[in-house]
């Protein structure tokens, strides 16, 4: 800044041309300054770790000692580890159980919130969004208590009313997955509802009015007006929730704890265990890279399908 000031002082004789140029640089400089905090923070907390894990994927390192280059050994270990594949299928199962109902119910809830029948709209809007602002750890702890495997656990008591035997939520193959998916569902359904609601409010009223005049039923209105016009929003939520589901971590960590039981281990939890429980940072980074590639593949499929649908 100081240098620019002296420059303008020195160039006094022809101020018009010069100052307009430095105005421009000034403007863009201040623009970059304004956006720099994000990029600086991103470089430190986002970009550097990403690049570093690519480097680590080819090293053997316990976090403290010297690193040792091992080539593709880490990838070989990960790809031949049945537990890694188990963690991947777990993640996909929980994505299906947790995400798809979430999107469907999100649309229904958004439709209900948008309808003229409901009073105290802002109250419901806020309360449906509340789970999203709740700390994931708190959610997982509370749900962990409700999904207690003993007979007195809340969900087991409820199942008992219907004559169903107590489920060992913490250790059985599907019990763990359903419990974790329920947490994900509860936490994210409100977020998606609000996004859908915004989408719904963007649909012009005239279309509905015209449809009513033509004698359309509610079902027809949803099928021919709401869903098609909501399509970009639906695609967006499918995207974000897919990527989110592939990175599922906190809920299973809190719920199954540090036993890393194979019924509930997700890919991210798997690599967390490698890194921070076993201090094998090389294989952990290799797993992260593989997950990165998987996310790229799934996202590309998403884009392809989305393009085809919206055409």
């Amino acid at each position: 800044m100081a240098r620019m000031n002296t420059e303008t002082q020195v160039q006094m004789p022809s101020p018009k041309k010069k100052s307009s140029l430095s105005e421009k640089t000034k403007e863009s400089l201040s623009g970059y300054l304004y956006i720099s905090p994000f990029f600086i923070l991103f470089a430190i907390f986002g970009l550097f770790p990403i690049l570093f894990s690519f480097y680590l994927g080819f090293q053997k390192w316990n976090g403290l000692g010297e690193m040792e280059f091992v080539g593709f050994q880490n990838f070989k270990w990960i790809l031949t580890d049945p537990l890694f594949w188990k963690s991947l299928t777990n993640t996909l199962y929980m994505w299906v159980i947790g995400t798809i109902p979430q999107l469907i119910i999100g649309i229904i809830l958004a439709y209900a919130l948008n309808s003229a029948l409901i009073k105290a709209k802002s109250f419901f809007r806020v309360s449906i969004f509340m789970p999203y602002v709740t700390s994931t750890v708190a959610v997982a702890i509370v749900f962990g208590i409700m999904f207690n495997s003993q007979d007195f656990g809340l969900f087991n008591v409820i199942l008992g009313w219907f004559g169903v035997d107590a489920v060992s939520w913490g250790t059985s193959e599907w019990g763990v997955k359903i419990a974790i998916s329920t947490m994900v569902f509860w936490r994210w359904v409100g977020y998606n509802t609000i996004i859908y609601l915004a989408g719904l409010q963007g649909i012009p009223k005239e279309l509905y009015e015209a449809a009513i005049i033509d004698g359309a039923t509610i079902r027809q209105k949803i099928q021919y007006i709401t869903i098609p016009l909501l399509r970009p929003i639906i695609i967006l939520t499918v995207f974000t929730s897919t990527i989110g589901a592939l990175q599922l971590f906190t809920e299973p960590l809190i719920f199954i704890g540090r036993t890393y039981r194979e019924e509930g281990i997700t890919v991210v939890l798997y690599l967390y265990r490698e890194a921070f429980a076993n201090l094998a940072f090389g294989p952990a980074s290799a797993a992260a890279i593989i997950l990165f590639i998987i996310i790229i593949v799934i996202s590309s499929i998403n884009v392809l399908v989305a393009n085809r649908i919206s055409r």
Binding site: P37, F38, L41, F45, N62, G63, L64, G65, N74, W77, D81, L83, I145, N148, S149, Q150, S168, G170, T171, S172, I194, I195, A198, R258, T259, Y260, R261, E262, E274, F276, A277, N278, L279, A280, G282, P283
Partner: protein
């Protein structure tokens, strides 16, 4: 929506970063200012500040886990050393070790004093350049105060590097519920019971008696039974060369799974809420392999069960479970003050206080001869002479080499035992699967 959210997150992050950097820079400048005034600027009276280190206010961050009760002792220390402030940060054991590891690996954020458990000390010993050698601060002089094997666990092989000062040890005993024993028609007196349950075979027979009479299991957490037997072995998961010798604990595993198969032990996992509430309910008869530090856990989980619990010696002799060390990470700017504090905290008198307060059993054998110590009884445990019982147990404890990868093995065996107990899985299949998982993970070390 998203933008707003991002903005808020960013703002929060920035505040966080600012707060962090502010903190470290201010403490940095404190330290530098002190050094400068000694070394550079005030050359005429240089060095005067060094000699009386008692004057300058010093803050020590101290990371603790478990129910150690060190906050009370830290207050006491402050009375005699008003310039030293101890900031105690209590957390879960695994979290504290993780945090310590991360901060050491990252080179910033480590406390002045960190508590490290015996199963983790070997791991941190490998990074001994990240810690102060306590021998440089006078540790060699106090080494004789502690049990020799305990002292050596925190020492390099040649004995030149001392990473930590010992706090407590965990000689194992057997806690039991007098009400359940009475119901089952077994002796309720601790000596008679110990005489009756002198072997694990006798323990097994008693389990059947209790099951028949009361329909309660003899113990609720299968892992605890396994641990009790495991801790009696002289070698456990690894030998001193670091080879996996897991077959050593197969007998303990078989005994545990046989009991599970016959419905003689419950299903609870350690440290779960169910496990805690069962202590209050009296839904089982014994807690085998319970060390001194378990006293605080039982009292905390079952505050109303006073007089219902009692302590007897464990079948076939005590082992050791747990116990910790206090270390000074190399990042600390006040190693001398930190050392002075932990030397005080681990001195026999303070260990005695920690024992009275929370049951942490002293690692300083001087205390064992102390009349006042031996006379300690605990009303909660039916007036049992706790100190004498634990001291008796401590005599038969032999040092065990745990190795760097102890927790990998222990976690997988825990999973195997839980699968047998809760899912009714086949014990041998689970054992084989656990060994396979262990070998996969060890390969990557």
């Amino acid at each position: 929506m998203k933008k707003w959210f991002l903005l808020v997150v960013l703002l929060g992050l920035m505040l966080f970063v600012v707060a962090c950097s502010d903190d470290s820079s201010s403490s940095d400048s404190d330290g530098n200012a002190g050094n400068n005034s000694d070394g550079e600027t005030n050359t005429d009276n240089g060095g005067s500040g060094d000699s009386d280190s008692g004057g300058d206010p010093v803050e020590l961050d101290f990371w603790v886990f478990g129910n150690a009760g060190y906050d009370v002792l830290a207050e006491e220390y402050k009375k005699d050393n008003p310039n030293v402030t101890i900031n105690i940060n209590e957390g879960e054991m695994a979290d504290q070790h993780n945090n310590l590891f991360t901060s050491i690996s990252g080179g910033s954020g480590a406390p002045d004093i960190a508590m490290v458990e015996v199963s983790e000390i070997a791991k941190f010993m490998e990074a001994s350049d990240q810690f102060y050698n306590l021998n440089d601060y006078g540790a060699a002089d106090v080494g004789g105060n502690f049990l020799e094997w305990k002292w050596q666990q925190a020492q390099s092989v040649d004995g030149s590097f001392q990473i930590g000062l010992p706090t407590d040890i965990g000689p194992t005993t057997m806690f039991y519920r007098t009400d359940v024993m009475e119901e089952a028609g077994l002796p309720t007196d601790r000596d008679e019971l110990a005489a009756e349950l002198d072997t694990w075979d006798a323990y097994y027979e008693a389990a059947k008696t209790i099951k028949d009479a009361t329909d309660k299991p003899i113990a609720d957490a299968p892992k605890l039974v396994f641990n009790a037997l495991r801790d009696q072995e002289e070698q456990q998961y690894f030998d001193e060369e670091g080879n996996l010798i897991i077959d050593n604990v197969k007998e303990a595993y078989d005994y545990t799974t046989k009991m599970i198969g016959e419905g003689l032990i419950g299903q609870n996992s350690l440290w779960t809420p169910e496990w805690g509430s069962a202590m209050a309910d009296g839904s089982y008869a014994t807690m085998p392999g319970a060390p001194g530090w378990m006293v605080g856990n039982v009292k905390g989980n079952a505050p109303d069960a006073s007089g219902l619990w009692d302590i007897a010696s464990i079948p076939e002799g005590a082992g050791n479970w747990g116990g910790s060390f206090l270390t000074v990470p190399a990042e600390s700017e006040h190693p001398q003050e930190a050392y002075d504090f932990i030397a005080w905290l681990t001195a026999p008198e303070q260990q005695l206080k920690a024992f009275h307060e929370k049951g942490l059993f002293p690692s300083a054998p001087d205390v064992y001869e102390n009349e006042e110590f031996l006379a300690t009884t605990d009303e909660y445990f039916n007036g049992a002479p706790t100190a004498a019982i634990f001291a008796e147990a401590a005599k038969s404890v032999t040092p065990v080499y745990m190795g760097v990868n102890y927790s990998i093995v222990d976690t997988e065996l825990d999973t195997a035992i839980t699968n047998v107990a809760v899912e009714g899985a086949d014990p041998q299949d689970e054992w084989d699967a656990a060994v396979e998982r262990i070998e996969t993970q060890l390969e990557r070390q």
